[in-house]
Symmetry: C2
Subunit: 233 residues, 2 copies
Amino acid sequence: MAKPILYSYWRSSCSWRVRIALSLKNIDYEYRPIDLFSEESKVSIFQFTLRIPRFCQNDPEFVKHNPAKKVPTLVINGLSLTESLAIIEYLDEAFPDPPFLPKELDQRAYSRAIALHIVSSIQPLQAISIHKMLNEKEKRYGDFWCNHFVNRGFKALEELLIKYSGKYCVGNQLTIADINLPSIIYNAKIYNVDMTQYPTIVRIGETLNEHPKFKPAHPDLQPDAPKTTKADM
Amino acid sequence: MAKPILYSYWRSSCSWRVRIALSLKNIDYEYRPIDLFSEESKVSIFQFTLRIPRFCQNDPEFVKHNPAKKVPTLVINGLSLTESLAIIEYLDEAFPDPPFLPKELDQRAYSRAIALHIVSSIQPLQAISIHKMLNEKEKRYGDFWCNHFVNRGFKALEELLIKYSGKYCVGNQLTIADINLPSIIYNAKIYNVDMTQYPTIVRIGETLNEHPKFKPAHPDLQPDAPKTTKADM
């Protein structure tokens, strides 16, 4: 198998999920940063070739792999794969060990439901682009909006986790649900969500933070992360 | 198997997806409407018992099945299942015929990617509650917002479908991707999206509209649909 290529952006929640999945499956890959806020790819500055070239969303090489121009995009086994959860399900089917889904149908459904609650009910409403657009519309409205929707989603998530969690989101096996949790907790903190309301989310998040396969996927450790991350908000 | 119960709202995109999936799998079910815009359940008016009682989101019977208080919720085989795509994947695993996913891993990934693009990148940003909240913030801003994000999503969706579609979204087999398409086209029309820009989306949408298993899932045919649907906007 040729070395897979992951098109990623350091702070993209969806890219983070796929980095965790690749790490859990022990798949080595090449990291290619897509700068979501640049109109122009940068492979060199003056005469110096950049150690990490940064591609923009419109770069023809990137668009060839994903006409939707979104990260993450994973080039693997000759395929160009898009949408974080679809990529994660593909990785689980192509590389079954360790599994991302329990064997029992009900536990599989609960794991996917928690993943989808994060991916479709919380994340899209507090994405970086949404936050920016609403703050430009009215000063601090984006801040209010993101805080509001993360709280709305976390209230439901806390209830779901009280019902299903053990050590991890669903029982004691690490599943697709856990892969989606760290990025949304990270964002909740950026949007000043009072996490003391959500002790189950916090507990599982702390367990995942200590997991050796989760650590290398953290945004701050990516080659395109700025040195002082909070200043980028 | 006891008759499954679907908690649904006639105009909810996510409920519509599950109605299509149940119809395709030939699963008979009881329809229980959840009125997303009412604070109070109505099982009777004066001394008359309603033919179709309407439950509100806070109804204890409903909350017992889904603490996140969202539709759709499917009670089946003794389980309470939530999140439309998780329910659809469960139905596909528990009732394999006809399948919602192709056999080939790449085609499965493309089918899931199209489904997820609709479910996580388009639908959440134009949900009824978002439209209402932004129109209350500033007259017609919700209209602008929903039109903008459906167009943004449809540009990418059209590109994906040009790449992957045959008769259906991915080749000539009906998949999980198709199950998610009708509701987002229906909403696009409500938000005055110019559909002539998206001929591939339109073509597949028309094919699905004619599918006998898709027809009964249409919002206008649900027991909780008002007689004149457009007036409800």
